[in-house]
Amino acid sequence: MKVLVPIKRVIDYNVKVRVKADKSDVDLANVKMAMNPFCEIAIEEAIRLKEAGKATEVVAVTIGDKSAQEQLRTALALGADSAIHIETEDKLDSLHVAKLLDKVIDEQQPDLVILGKQSIDADNNQTGQMLAALRGWPQGTFASKVELNDGKVNVTREVDGGLQTVALTLPAIVTTDLRLNEPRYASLPNIMKAKRKPLDVKNAADMGVDLTPRVQLVSVEEPSQRQGGVIVEDVATLVSKLKNEAKVVS
């Protein structure tokens, strides 16, 4: 059983991004970049499936500029068997990403695709569901538990009211939520080994997908900043302020 894991290079989650002075976009120059945290969880899950003897092969794929190969090497160091880089300088909508991944699936024929539920830069939360639709496959989004058994996968999903479990026929799409697992760190020997693992590069423009933008970024602005408040001395002062000043407690 082969597992495909699409991963994205994004701003490191600890970094607070700034808007460019001309408001054209956010400023990513010299900002620390990393693998999208939900993709780390996706890779970890695929590797655990392999370690448990349920999966035989894990392939990582990313779509982005040259620098994204850094995150593919990380995926290889974590335990992916091979990697595919689909190179493009373009800013893509999730639908484009899903269509390119659809082509990768044509070629790779995985039984399971595990994606992150959301990329922490665009915060779209779209790609996995779109890919499932393009293939006509079932989807288990926001997964906190994935159980594979002959031809089926049971996915426990984090939903607004609690947890929902669905049974999907393979091939299927899973997207990860935070509680699915705790990703490991890559060891130094594995980082060295990863340098020799196969990494295939393709050009996005050659894949037969129309990459014309569907959503235009008009401008980007800073969010409205909250006024710094006051530090109160004690509980009595706090309650009095909430009652008489803010008037949010009666």
Binding site: V17, Q129, E222, L238
Partner: protein, 308 residues
Amino acid sequence: MKSLVIAEHEYGQLKPETAKTVHAAAKVGADIDLLLIGEGLEAAAQEASTISGVSRVLVADSAEYAHQLAENCADLVVKLCADYSHIFASATTTGKNMMPRVAALLDKAQVSDIIDVIDAETFKRPIYAGNAIATVKSLESQHIITVRASAFDIAEQGGSAPIEAISDVIASSNSAFVSKEQTESERPELTAADVIISGGRGMQNGENFKLLEGIADKLGAAIGASRAAVDAGFVPNDMQVGQTGKIVAPNLYIAVGISGAIQHLAGMKDSKVIVAINKDPDAPIFQVADYGLVADLFEVLPELEAAL
């Protein structure tokens, strides 16, 4: 221009996100139809018909839709939506699950999580955990949109839209419901509450969340949590407030033992009044708090409960 709004409902009841999403759709200015997909929807449909601004309430009521699985629900929406210029759903876990599927089947991009409507094609949405607000223009012929309900007021009552049954029943072939573990609570829902009190890692364990309950009882508040508190198993996952959990904007948000990471702030910084209780005077939560109390939560929570 016509809009189709997919209603948010659970256990036969309409959820407040629906009327907020209708309000967002009303800002586009189009004629609005509301679609309910599920099972046992009579009461919810009646309630939906009173939302002001709704022209028709379409009801697809079938056992096949009981669990609102994305696969067949998306197929149904695609079947019904040809005449609509806009399709809206709330950015709840149900909407987030289904809408991108609808979009891809229609070969359209989606605009997620809008917080404002500029015109019929142009919307504002937060990106990078709300550290930037993007204005985006959908270049599609049909606009597929999810709405951050907390950013919109509830559309008014007073309508009396006709209710029409949708007879198409689409079965789900490759996906099946197995079970649901519902979080039981007598308290208001996080996304609907006027007051929220949330606990973080500083609470130390789930048992200590009882210290928040007494206060929540007095304030009629919902209880929330940080990711750290959920990850540690103190409380269930659906209590997580933040970038990747629930987005809330109550009148009063009280953060207890929460440091104020950007991912947490992304979910609550639009609250009207924020109170932070933390023993670390340098905790970033104080930068967004209207009222900060630097103290040990185990000392001040009982005092707070008594003072209310």
